[in-house]
């Protein structure tokens, strides 16, 4: 994740200014839009990273794609272009979302499961999150069949691993770690 450090600083500055102008929520929506758009469009990602495309053209394209954004967001485009840092735009967006969520006490709980969550399960997980962190959180469901069963819940820096896959891996390691075989 090259450029993450720089991105964190841009995001911090952006949030600070947005706070002063009372537009944090609007800018956050912009950032969600930007990060979703870039994530879903390979063309756009390549376009932003490409060193052969002129900065002016990148700027025009961005303003065209994100026409309805807040003035501060277009200001961000401007400054990133001036500093030749447009490639870290998605990282800035991600960092901003994180900082915004931190500021408002909103947590994102990433739940990895083998099959999609039902509403009933989601409620149970919400309860578990509250038990672990004391706050409610927005649940984001990631489907990964390789965990076989159970679920992995990750909120910020805390991870609750209740997956069958992880237990099987532990068992495998336990069996491989054989002290009856000489290693010298």
């Amino acid at each position: 994740m090259q450029g993450n450090r720089a991105a964190a600083r841009y995001a911090k500055a952006l949030l600070g200014l947005a706070k002063d102008r009372n537009v944090t929520r609007e800018v956050n929506e912009d950032m969600i839009l930007i990060s979703e758009t870039i994530k879903n469009s390979d063309d756009l990602r390549v376009f932003l990273k490409s060193p052969v495309i002129k900065n002016a053209m990148k700027k025009n394209a961005l303003l065209e794609i994100f026409r309805s954004v807040n003035g501060m967001t277009s200001g961000l485009f401007q400054i990133l272009i001036e500093n030749n840092r447009l490639d870290i735009l998605p990282l800035v967006a991600d960092n901003y979302k994180r900082l915004y969520n931190e500021l408002n006490g909103v947590q994102v709980a990433k739940v990895t499961t083998a099959i999609p969550l039902t509403t009933e399960l989601e409620a149970k997980i919400q309860q578990k999150v509250k038990e672990l962190t004391g706050n409610e959180a927005n649940i984001e469901n990631i489907i990964d069949e390789s965990i076989i069963g159970g679920f992995i819940l990750r909120v910020g820096d805390i991870q609750y691993n209740g997956s069958v896959g992880a237990q099987l891996k532990n068992l495998k390691r336990e069996l491989q770690n054989n002290t009856y075989v000489s290693k010298i």
Binding site: M1, Q2, N4, R5, A8, L132, G150, R154, D157, I158, Q159, Y160, N161, G162, A166, Q167, K169, N170, L171, R173, E174, L175, N177, N178, T179, Y180, V181, S182, K183, I184
Partner: protein, 526 residues
């Protein structure tokens, strides 16, 4: 291949599985930003501590060595090919440590205390000892008073080592450094047999696995593995494992030291550890200094060697020792000791390089081994002139002190006059006498590998040498005479030897020794 008994296999599997609990875990985690050259930068892990062990997916462990604003630098303790960007890293909440117990004696373990000798898990109760621990303060120490017998005549006579001392063994490659320390370990068998073992720890750093296996075999064959632990970080292990191996050894030694028992630790060798540390430091982008070693390489060795100590005999004071691990608090006894024998390999005899000067200044003396002596057949190739022991003299037993008191000076005088003898010029009888005696003393101090001498035998033969009782024995027959003399004493005058061993020396004893030496040497007269 040996036949495998199916019952045995399932018994082992059962044992392995008994420790396995299938339950969900709640962990603090971070995400790998980048990984390469054995270093990983991890985003998150906001509460990770310096020196904490972290666990990667797949069980690979690492030590946190860099704490930065939004990420931590982790050195990996294993192959890093399996670690990928974006992988999760778990905190283990424990500072790098090693599990030590009585069961670790006689085993070969790696830096993290995992047995690698194929003899199964460490038996019995174990205690978690931190790898990095502050050395005991001044109040909890006492001066060195007891000898640590190395079984090597020239060391015990002229550069004596005391329990709790740090004595450097330094020399070029192939000068017999390892042989000296292995002999020292072998010589502790006497104490093991007497029921007062000196626990030995041999730390092999950056050596070939075959060399380590060879040393383990030698120790086992001579019955020395029963009181020895080997900590091995081989050349093929990652650099951080080699850096921490001496600390793991010191942690094992401290367990014995703090429970009131004597221990001896050998670091073979610290030059390789310094090189491994340089590798880690440079990869962590710490600025290089002299010879590209980082600025804190002196501190690396000083904090390690400072942990060798003679603990005060008073239990009540020892109980309050600083930085005691909680698990050990109610087991602490005074009077224990940890003697350290670090080894340093020099390049072409250059002792003024960075690492040798550092370690010379930290230790309480040094034993120099030189290739000139080695090649001229003086083995062990100890250069007595420049070898010193700053505190060991106080620990020498009385009889040895009395007998060997003049030996070092005599030999210095001999070496000075030896040059004249080479001119072949006519020498006055006094000079000739010194030279002839010196030559015989050099022969007396020679000793075969893996053949440590009990202290009473050392005293007996050195007495004969320093009193010039061998003047009638031709130089090339000195070793033959030594053998006869010691065998005779052992057979006919065991009581005299026992008294010498107890530190006693009086006219009766010296008369007997003189008598025997004179009688035997008459046989060699031409």
């Amino acid at each position: 291949m040996a036949e495998i008994n199916p019952a045995e296999v399932s018994a082992i599997l059962k044992k392995q599985l008994s420790g396995f609990e299938a339950k969900a875990s709640l962990d603090e985690v971070g995400t790998v930003l980048n990984v390469g050259d054995g270093i990983a930068n991890v985003y998150g892990l906001a509460n990770a501590q310096y020196g904490e062990l972290v666990e990667f997916e797949g069980g690979l462990e690492g030590i946190v060595l860099n704490l930065e604003e939004d990420n931590v630098g982790v050195v990996l303790l294993g192959p890093y090919k399996q670690v990928k960007e974006g992988a999760t890293v778990k905190r283990t909440q424990r500072i790098a440590s090693i599990n030590v117990g009585e069961g670790i004696v006689g085993r070969v373990v790696d830096t993290l205390g995992a047995p690698i000798d194929g003899k199964g898990p460490i038996q019995g109760e174990t205690f978690q000892m931190p790898l990095e621990r502050k050395a005991p303060g001044v109040i909890y120490r006492q001066p060195v008073t007891e000898p640590l017998q190395t079984g090597i005549k020239s060391i015990d006579a002229m550069v004596p080592i005391g329990r709790g001392q740090r004595e450097l063994v330094i020399g070029d490659r192939q000068t017999g450094k390892t042989a000296v320390v292995i002999d020292t370990i072998l010589n502790q068998k006497e104490f093991y047999d007497a029921g007062e073992p000196v626990y030995c720890i041999y730390v092999a750093i950056g050596q070939k696995a075959s060399t380590v296996a060879g040393i383990a075999k030698t120790l086992e064959d001579k019955g020395a593995l029963a009181y020895t632990t080997i900590v091995a970080a081989n050349a093929s292990d990652p650099a951080p494992m080699q850096v921490y191996a001496p600390f793991a050894g010191a942690a094992i030694g401290e367990y014995f030291r703090d429970t009131g028992r004597p221990a001896l630790i050998v670091y073979d060798d610290l030059s390789k550890q310094a090189v491994a540390y340089r590798e880690v430091s440079l990869l962590l982008r710490r600025p290089p200094g002299r010879e590209a070693y980082p600025g804190d390489v002196f501190f690396l060795h000083s904090r390690l060697l400072e942990r060798a100590a003679k603990v005060i005999a008073d239990d009540d004071i020892a109980k309050n020792m600083n930085d005691l691990p909680d698990v050990l608090k109610d087991k602490v006894k005074g009077g224990g000791s940890l003697t350290a024998l670090p080894l340093i390999e020099t390049q072409a005899g250059d002792v003024s390089a960075y690492i040798p000067t550092n370690v010379i200044s930290i230790t309480d003396g040094q034993i120099f081994l030189t290739s000139d002596l080695f090649n001229s057949g003086v083995r062990p190739a100890i250069n007595v002139g420049i070898s010193v022991s700053r505190v060991g003299g106080a620990a020498q037993i009385k009889s040895m002190k009395k007998v060997a008191g003049t030996l070092k000076l005599d030999q210095a005088q001999y070496r000075e006059l030896e040059a004249f003898a080479k001119f072949g010029s006519d020498l006055d009888p006094a000079t000739l006498n010194i030279i002839e005696k010196g030559k015989r003393n050099v022969e007396i101090l020679k000793q075969a590998e893996n053949n440590p001498y009990p202290v009473e035998n050392q005293i007996a033969i050195i007495y004969a040498g320093s009193k010039n009782l061998l003047r009638n024995v031709p130089v090339e027959k000195v070793r033959e005479f030594e053998k006869d003399y010691l065998e005779f004493l052992d057979a006919k005058h065991r009581d005299v030897l026992d008294q010498l061993k107890a530190g006693k020396i009086n006219d009766d004893i010296t008369d007997t020794l003189t008598q025997v030496a004179k009688e035997l040497s008459a046989k060699y007269k031409k």
